[in-house]
């Protein structure tokens, strides 16, 4: 049972490039989340989804887009990467709201 899998684990981008981070969960969870974690800032919610086909903005959504076309997948896109988006990105899922969240091991993204 893999739980929450994030792809890729590491990536280096140049400013202005685009990329998509993939999150896959095999627990049939309804809710999925994307966070970024920066030193001294803690985990901050970027976007989340309460079910297939739905998305909602979190605390820091600017510069990111998301899609949840399939229940098991939640994609995070950076259309034009900026150095300020250098961070560790975590995906999480939960059966429903108010339940504990299961996290992946993160994607370490550097933007030069």
């Amino acid at each position: 049972n893999a739980g929450v899998t994030q792809t890729p684990k590491f990536r280096v981008l140049k400013t202005g490039q685009s990329m998509t981070l993939l999150c896959a969960q095999d627990m049939n969870h309804e809710y999925m989340y994307w966070y970024r974690q920066d030193p001294g800032m803690g985990l901050r919610l970027i976007h989340y989804s309460v079910g297939e086909g739905t998305t909602a903005k979190g605390e820091v959504p600017d510069g990111y887009n998301v899609s949840r076309l399939k229940k098991q997948n939640f994609l995070l896109g950076l259309e034009s990467a900026a150095p300020s988006q250098t961070s560790v990105y975590f995906c999480a899922s939960s059966p429903q709201g108010g339940w504990p969240q299961h996290f992946g091991d993160g994607t370490r993204l550097s933007i030069l």
Binding site: G97, G98, P100, D105, G106
Partner: protein
């Protein structure tokens, strides 16, 4: 907006002692409060959840308290071990949809 405060300084204790970590919040009380453990290079792992109408929750060597009057949760690890060394995050559930996380407190347990 909700603000969560966890001690940013590392907590250093000796093996066998009880570690106590603090989570303070402002504004209104959450419905649920959760505690997670995070090891370097890994994602957070859920430990305990406590509801606003519960004063205390226990799981093995772990204990969480929730005081809505003080707007504070305390997380205790009894008989601490070096393997308990990690960063501990508290998270508030305000709306049954998403969590707001604190910045975490690093715990170091020395033999």
């Amino acid at each position: 907006s909700q603000k969560i405060e966890q001690n940013s300084e590392a907590l250093n204790i000796q093996e066998g002692k009880t570690a106590t970590l603090t989570c303070n919040y402002t504004n209104y009380s959450p419905a649920y409060l959760q505690w997670y453990r995070q090891d370097p290079g890994r994602g957070p792992v859920f430990l305990l959840l406590i509801r606003e109408n519960e004063k205390e929750k226990r799981k093995e060597r772990l204990k969480v308290t929730f005081d809505t009057t003080l707007k504070q949760s305390l997380f205790h690890i009894t008989a601490s071990q070096p393997a308990d060394s990690a960063t501990y995050l508290c998270a508030l559930d305000m709306d049954f949809q998403k969590l707001v996380f604190g910045t975490g407190t690093r715990l170091l347990v020395s033999p």
